[in-house]
């Protein structure tokens, strides 16, 4: 970035992520609203304090209000495990756990989550020991290209917690009597918010079923 220019330009040998990181350091602000082409922001970007606990680490941040949780994780905190698929709430690739509940991070403003405890795919393992859901996805080949996998795994972890809390679905008829029986069609319906364009669904369902039956999640 050259300080003598009015609008920032990207040096050709810098990657987009380097550029954003460098800009954030130089200006001291998060620039979540800047476009990929390095276009300048018309309005002066004001920031606000935001405190988040992400994967057990406390972050005291100053962020621009329009920064989504997804962009905060990927672009500002260098945690690219959470994936940006559609960026419009249609694919579920950006699913993370906020205070234990699964949400889509692309349609969530980071500032609105001030004080929240966020768990991403990077935070599921305990040291070198994989989370049971991660291990099951490996064991059952619950993926092909792997792009949707972090979202699938976070979503599955949140889903099993919902089941243990008695959350109904359209598969179980209402009003339900007795405990939920997590059949494969229940798993499919409850995971409908996570799209896999490789079509690894049978193995994703198998992995989730195995974790559910082992009672490990």
């Amino acid at each position: 970035m050259r300080p003598d220019k009015e609008s920032p330009e990207v040096d050709k040998d810098l990657t987009r992520r380097d550029f954003i990181a460098a800009s954030a350091v130089v200006s001291g602000i998060a620039i979540g609203g800047a476009s990929a082409s390095g276009q300048s922001i018309k309005e002066a970007a004001s920031t606000a304090p935001c405190s988040l606990t992400i994967n057990g680490s406390r972050h005291e941040l100053n962020i621009e209000p329009r920064t989504t949780v997804l962009d905060l994780l990927r672009e500002h905190l260098q945690m690219p495990g959470t994936k940006k698929g559609c960026d419009h709430g249609q694919c579920g690739a950006c699913t993370v756990l906020v205070n234990g509940e699964r949400i889509i991070s692309c349609l969530s403003l980071a500032i609105a989550q001030d004080g929240a405890i966020i768990t991403t795919i990077e935070g599921l393992a305990q040291g070198d020991e994989l989370h049971s859901m991660q291990a099951a996805f490996l064991e059952f080949d619950g993926f092909q290209c792997g792009f949707c996998t972090p979202g699938q795994i976070c979503s599955a972890v949140g889903m099993l917690k919902e089941v243990s809390n008695g959350m109904p679905s359209t598969v179980s008829s209402l009003p339900r009597t007795g405990a939920i029986e997590l059949t494969d069609s229940e798993i499919s319906e409850r995971m409908a918010g996570n799209i896999c364009r490789c079509g690894a669904y049978p193995n994703i369902v198998a992995a989730i079923r195995a974790v559910y039956q082992s009672g490990a999640a």
Binding site: I41, M167, P175
Partner: protein, 330 residues
């Protein structure tokens, strides 16, 4: 996305004062629709007042009915014993909408205020949209209008309302409680949404600065209810047609009271009192339901690609009423 100021309201009164006079201030709840529309450049509020943490998160008995406060998350509604026992059709409708992640985020107040999923509204590269850009025309009328409305449309707009929850609330005759610095008032679901007419940009009867504080359900009636949603895939898709049906039978197994609302066919959940009235005293059979379905869809005006919705709506009404009245063979 445009830059905006952000303020988290500390109380209902703080929210009502903070929304202030400027029309470019908006309340934000879960943000699942508003943030998306801001990314698309359809919405560009200068100020957001975050109401998602207001203490409006209870579901509680209210008179002989039930009150759902405005900031209750969609997922909390469907897992609440009062709703599951008294209004299963509402739980079924909410579970049929969006994805579990989105239901964990979205508030009930925000669900009511979703904008249409009309492709042309959602994409500002189309200049013509009377909702987005008043008096610019409607690209959908002569466009790909498979998902659009067949009832209550005007030449200015043929958008349909996307909410499943609202369809069930219409059948249950819920009341929407709103509050502003000017005071409180109560709006029936029948009066909450406006048909497009000459001003499709005005979608509800809410005034600027009014906050939805609760949705109040009257005492439940009828043992039988059903929410039927017909869509292109079995989950996580908007309705082509949906039906909320509630039926109460008398001692001789004839219909004492019935309520039907159609979704996916108009800018609001579609109810016709006459269609419900003609079922009173009749046997809950296919002939009765067909008659009601014909009255309900009377006056439908399909466009080039959505003519199928007329018959689909009729058949869906018959099936939903059959299931609601305990005769699922129809």
């Amino acid at each position: 996305m445009n830059a905006f100021t952000y303020k988290r309201a500390t109380s209902v009164d703080d929210a009502l004062i903070s929304i202030g006079a400027p029309p470019d201030s908006k309340f934000i709840g879960g943000g699942t629709n508003l943030i998306d529309l801001m990314k698309m450049g359809v919405e560009h509020p200068a100020n957001l007042i975050d109401v998602s943490r207001l203490p409006l998160t209870n579901i509680e008995p209210h008179g002989d009915g039930t009150r759902i406060e405005g900031m209750v998350r969609n997922s909390a509604v469907v897992n609440h014993p009062l709703i599951l026992e008294r209004y299963p059709v509402l739980a079924m409708a909410i579970l049929a909408g969006a994805s579990p992640q989105i239901r964990n985020m979205a508030t009930v107040a925000g669900n009511l205020l979703q904008r249409t999923r009309c492709f042309y509204f959602y994409d500002p590269s189309y200049r013509e949209c009377n909702k987005r850009n008043p008096e610019s025309g409607c690209a959908a009328v002569a466009g790909f209008n498979r998902i659009h409305a067949i009832l209550g449309t005007s030449e200015h707009c043929i958008a349909s309302h996307p909410s499943d929850m609202a369809v069930a609330l219409a059948a249950l005759e819920a009341m929407v409680q709103v509050k502003s610095v000017r005071g409180e008032r109560s709006i029936s679901m029948a009066d909450f949404y406006r048909l497009p007419g000459n001003t499709p940009q005005v979608e509800t009867t809410l005034q600027h600065g009014e906050l939805i504080t609760s949705i109040d359900l009257p005492a439940p009636f009828g043992k039988g209810s059903h929410y039927l949603k017909v869509r292109d895939r079995n989950s996580y898709a908007f309705a082509l047609v949906s039906v909320a049906a509630v039926v109460e039978l008398d001692e001789s197994k004839r219909i004492r009271k019935a309520r039907i609302a159609l979704g996916g066919v108009a800018a609001r959940p579609w109810r016709v009192p006459e269609a419900e009235h003609i079922m009173i005293g009749k046997e809950p059979n296919e002939a009765t339901f067909k008659q009601a379905a014909y009255v309900l869809v009377q006056g439908a005006k399909p466009h080039r690609y959505n003519g199928f919705k007329v018959e689909l709506a009729r058949r869906s009404v018959v099936r939903a009423l059959s299931i609601a009245s305990g005769n699922s063979n129809a």
